[in-house]
């Protein structure tokens, strides 16, 4: 993944992780942007630290994305106790006696 793509995805994940969906005053977003500015290479210069920075950015992206996806799966499949009669009927496509025909 290229640096720009990682940056865009990182900001996207940070936005999703923040409680109000806004990263205007998010510390992490500010830090990531500052790092990108710091390690920006000019012209064709080879910069070793940039590879490392991209790797770290990618790793943090994986961290945020995996946690979000884990939570989504957990919410969908975690047991919530016994199903009600209506839920079971919906599951197998039956109607309750009280439902209109």
């Amino acid at each position: 993944m290229s640096g720009t793509k990682v940056l865009r995805s990182l900001l996207h994940e940070l936005r999703q992780a923040s409680p109000n969906g806004c990263i205007k005053d998010s510390l992490a977003a500010r830090y990531v942007l500052a790092q990108y500015k710091k390690f920006a290479t000019t012209e064709q210069q080879v910069c070793k630290a940039r590879n490392e920075a991209t790797f770290l950015g990618q790793t943090y992206l994986t961290y945020l994305a995996s946690q979000r996806q884990y939570l989504e799966l957990y919410k969908e499949f975690h047991g919530r106790g016994e199903r009600s009669v209506r839920d079971t009927a919906d599951l197998v496509g039956f109607k309750l006696p009280t439902d209109p025909k």
Binding site: A17, P19, L27, K38, E52, F55, T59, Y70, F77
Partner: protein
């Protein structure tokens, strides 16, 4: 059977309340499991403070503390920011079991098992003989081919990196690791600080492989690739038996999150040398 249990329970109650003996039938309840509910999110904003000892995380105006009560202080700024972001990402409750990065920092600060550097290096060394990628299986041709294509380059890289000679095994007998090789690997791990080794152990425990853990920490593999290699046989079998979202995907995402946390932790803890690199440039 249940009648006997009930009688025993009643007898126990009678002994404890012998003076005022009365048990109304309604008080005997069906056992219900009571889980401790996670603490509510009691803060609105998180931020990072710079002190003389390092960086601290602040929840509103309260300073974050570790489970043992020690103040939370880390030397790396991005680590503190990541922990603050993680606390900020909690919705209504603080789900501590899912905050791997914070948990890792807490473990490193508190060191609840009182591990010394030597204990940790020994733990890592003992892992070599049971490393996932060293146990291959040649009864099933397709799987073995996959293992040769995917695992062997990583083993080769590991051997070159540490100038040792690890051999894979095809049976249940563990591969022989010479003392000389162990010394070389031990020397490498001894050079890290105590906190960083916590990160290494977390990564090795996640992947069940020291070879893969070193490869991903030294940026030879990405996190996703390393997790895929650690679950190589599972992925292979899934082709025949199907993929179950709530088991396979869930474990994959969890392993990725754990490994990414460990890699970030290790890198942030020894980031001083990269800062020096930059100033030279």
């Amino acid at each position: 059977m249940s009648g006997k249990l009930l009688m025993n329970a009643l007898r126990a109650l009678r002994v404890s309340h012998s003076s005022q003996w009365q048990v109304p039938a309604a008080t005997i309840r069906i056992p219900v499991r009571h889980y401790a509910s996670p603490p509510k999110r009691f803060y609105k904003k998180t931020s990072v403070l710079t002190g003389d000892g390092g960086y601290e995380v602040v929840l509103d105006h309260r300073k974050l503390k570790t489970p043992k009560g020690a103040p939370f202080v880390v030397r790396s700024e991005p680590l503190a920011i990541a922990v603050a972001t993680e606390f900020d990402a909690q919705k209504e409750h603080i789900e501590r079991s899912r905050m791997h990065l914070s948990a890792l920092c807490f473990t490193a600060i508190d060191n609840p098992n009182h591990l010394s550097k030597l204990d940790m290096v020994n733990y890592l060394l003992n892992y070599i003989a049971t490393d996932t990628v060293l146990y291959q299986y040649d009864d099933e041709k397709a799987l073995h081919e996959l293992q040769i294509n995917e695992w062997d380059p990583v083993i080769e890289w590991f051997n070159q990196r540490f100038e040792i000679n690890l051999q894979k095994t095809m049976s249940i007998t563990p591969p022989k690791v010479s003392d000389e090789d162990k010394m070389k690997v031990a020397k490498h791990f001894q050079s890290y600080s105590l906190e960083t080794l916590h990160g290494f152990i977390f990564a090795v425990d996640t992947l069940k492989s020291i070879v893969l853990a070193c490869a991903v920490i030294e940026q030879m593999l990405t996190v996703e690739k390393a997790v895929a290699l650690a679950r190589l046989e599972e992925e292979y079998q899934m082709k025949f038996w199907g993929r179950v979202e709530w088991a396979h995907d869930l474990s994959q995402q969890e392993l990725q999150a754990r490994l990414a946390a460990a890699v970030l932790f290790v890198h942030f803890n020894c980031s001083e040398n990269c800062v020096k690199h930059k100033s030279i440039l």
